[in-house]
Subunit: 373 residues, 2 copies
């Protein structure tokens, strides 16, 4: 069971995994005990949807299955990060605020999306929390992974797989073509027979090459990695370069970062500490790059180039991101899954940048990932 559970959920979890198993819990409107104290600082800036279901935790407290303390601790970390990251992004934007939508999953758990639209600095930014558990069908498994058929071949047609998953995932699309898009996702899984693992990563997708920015972004994560394990950065940087590939273009989506999955070889407390530090360093790694470039001058042609790169982002997310595809095909909350798509994207037929241009240099990096630090 371990093998397929790890394979299945790990694949699922690549990007938007945590919004996947949600049905749109718009029907229920349970408000239990108000907001957490750390939440109230931001409360005034968050518009509540009618469909709001704001629980302090999506865990079922009466049910102490699995490693309950870790489940609860990880959820708390994710909730706090969702608040602190969205607050920092609102400050950078200076105008727009996040809209919050919460929901419950009838068969276990729930989620909370925060999405900022039409900001001054950000065209769109979303941070999704989800905490889901229950069982997955054979059909869901089959849709979820390339190896689905192999994995499910010994399962009975109606066999279900118990699982627990919680994570925070995010994509931020700034307006200025010199401000990169950023994505992160940190998650904790448990499944049948006591199996557990952590996964996650933060990666960056500029439209132009800026070595200093990349040194800062990769350098921030290298420093964190090195504190926890001397092999982490090398291994997880390479993993990101392998995963975020638009296969039909033979290009990476962006300039990578770190990506890891199936981490269960160490003490869970150690991997938790690493994941928590990665998550809590998102603003430190990304924020200064946006502050630096948010008012850069640009031409219409540079904006169009950025929108073509946004088109590539859409291609990756809709064609290759297993979490997205699985979610779309199995009834996840669509608006939470697709908040990762940009406000606008562009496709020009057979566009080839002029040799020697900054756009050609960009493509070269997408075809030959660089070491930045």
């Amino acid at each position: 069971m371990k093998l397929f559970s790890v394979t299945f959920l790990a694949l699922l979890s690549a990007s938007n995994a945590f919004t996947l198993p949600f049905s749109n819990g718009a029907a229920t409107s349970i408000h239990r005990g108000g907001m957490q104290s750390s939440n109230s600082a931001l409360a005034s800036t968050i518009e509540k949807a009618d469909t709001d279901v704001d629980l302090e935790s999506f865990l079922n407290e009466g049910d102490l299955e699995g490693n309950f303390p870790m489940r609860a601790k990880f959820e708390k970390t994710l909730r706090e990060a969702q608040i602190s990251i969205t607050k920092a992004i609102e400050e950078i934007d200076g105008e727009a605020t996040f809209q919050e939508d919460s929901w419950q999953r009838p068969t276990g758990g729930g989620g909370k999306s925060r999405v900022l639209s039409e900001g001054k600095v950000f065209e769109k930014a979303g941070v999704n929390l989800s905490v889901v558990y229950g069982t997955m069908s054979r059909e869901a498994l089959r849709a979820a992974t390339e190896k689905g058929d192999e994995i499910v071949k010994d399962m009975a047609p109606d066999e279900k797989v118990p699982f627990f998953a919680c994570g925070l995932s995010s994509v931020m699309h700034p307006r200025n073509p010199f401000c990169p898009t950023m994505h992160f996702n940190y998650r904790y899984f448990e499944t049948d027979g006591g199996a557990w693992w952590f996964g996650g990563g933060t990666d960056i997708t500029p439209s132009y090459v800026n070595e200093d920015d990349m040194k800062h972004f990769h350098g921030t994560y290298k420093e964190i990695c090195d504190k926890h394990d001397p092999n982490y950065y090398k291994e997880f940087k390479a993993w990101a370069d392998r995963y975020f590939v638009i296969q039909h273009r033979n290009e990476t989506r962006g300039f990578g970062g770190i990506f890891f999955d199936d981490q269960n070889e160490k003490d869970p407390e150690d991997i938790f500490a690493f994941s928590e530090e990665c998550l809590n360093s998102v603003v430190k790694a990304y924020g200064p790059i946006i502050e630096k470039h948010k008012d850069d001058e640009f031409t219409q042609k540079q904006k169009e180039w950025q929108l073509m790169r946004r088109g590539r982002y859409v291609e990756f997310n809709l064609v290759y991101d297993r979490g997205t595809i699985f979610g779309l095909k199995t009834g996840g909350r669509i608006e939470s899954i697709l908040m990762s798509l940009p406000e606008t994207a562009r496709w020009e037929y057979d566009h080839v940048p002029e040799p020697g241009s900054p756009e050609a240099e960009f493509i070269d990096v997408c075809k030959n990932p660089r070491d930045w630090v």
Copy 2:
């Protein structure tokens, strides 16, 4: 063999199938006997790419396999339609012209794309010819269809499936939000053991409901259908409504048209005649709607709504269109496959049209397909 061949290739052929098996034959530059006479009228308006391989036919004339006369006749019909349709679209546009790229497929056949970009009336319009033959691998089959595993389970790992396919496929995206997008695809297949069939269809994707336009479009195809078979329109209209569905949104992509596949129960000459008439009526069905609305006034909000519908078009093509997905995953000529994507598309988080608005009426039709004639 019949069963899986029909299932496999029919699924492939849904939209962009004919560009799929092409590798980018940019290397070869064979120019054999100049252009056809019917082509030369348009020659001055078509920019030739360096990679051009302009053959009079992509068939191997020395090889009289299968129903060679039908292969040749269908290819000729497609080539003539590609010229006449692109000429008519250029005339409607009044400014932009089609760029032509031809290529050969090393393992059999070739193709020719004509793409118009940044026109006055059309933001993007493409018409792709392809004539391909050879064999398909088990892996290609598995990727091509939902039933892939079932279909290939009795095949040896290295077994190949002989096939021949030719078709013309097209998507046109006009600028004005009151001008609908249009897609068509007409194709002829042969495979192992003498199996053959025709498939095709023309469908329309507006951003607003205009009953007169839909009566004209559907009425044109109903008239053709009725001339050939009293059951065709009812059956093929329903088929389009079933196929062009964005499943995760529970919405149709547009307002349908006709869609048919696996047609081999009649004399091939009869089905050929029907397909030919459908293909040659594309301009009659679509052109007047564009002429009528190309100068309509519109607001920025209406333009944004159109771009959000373009986003839905992207979702359908990248997530559900089997031809596109198979092509992307198995190394087709990317620019020909993805010419179906719009120049620009838009995603707004959780956009819900105001009740009673024209946009809400549009969504209602996407959720409840109407009978227009």
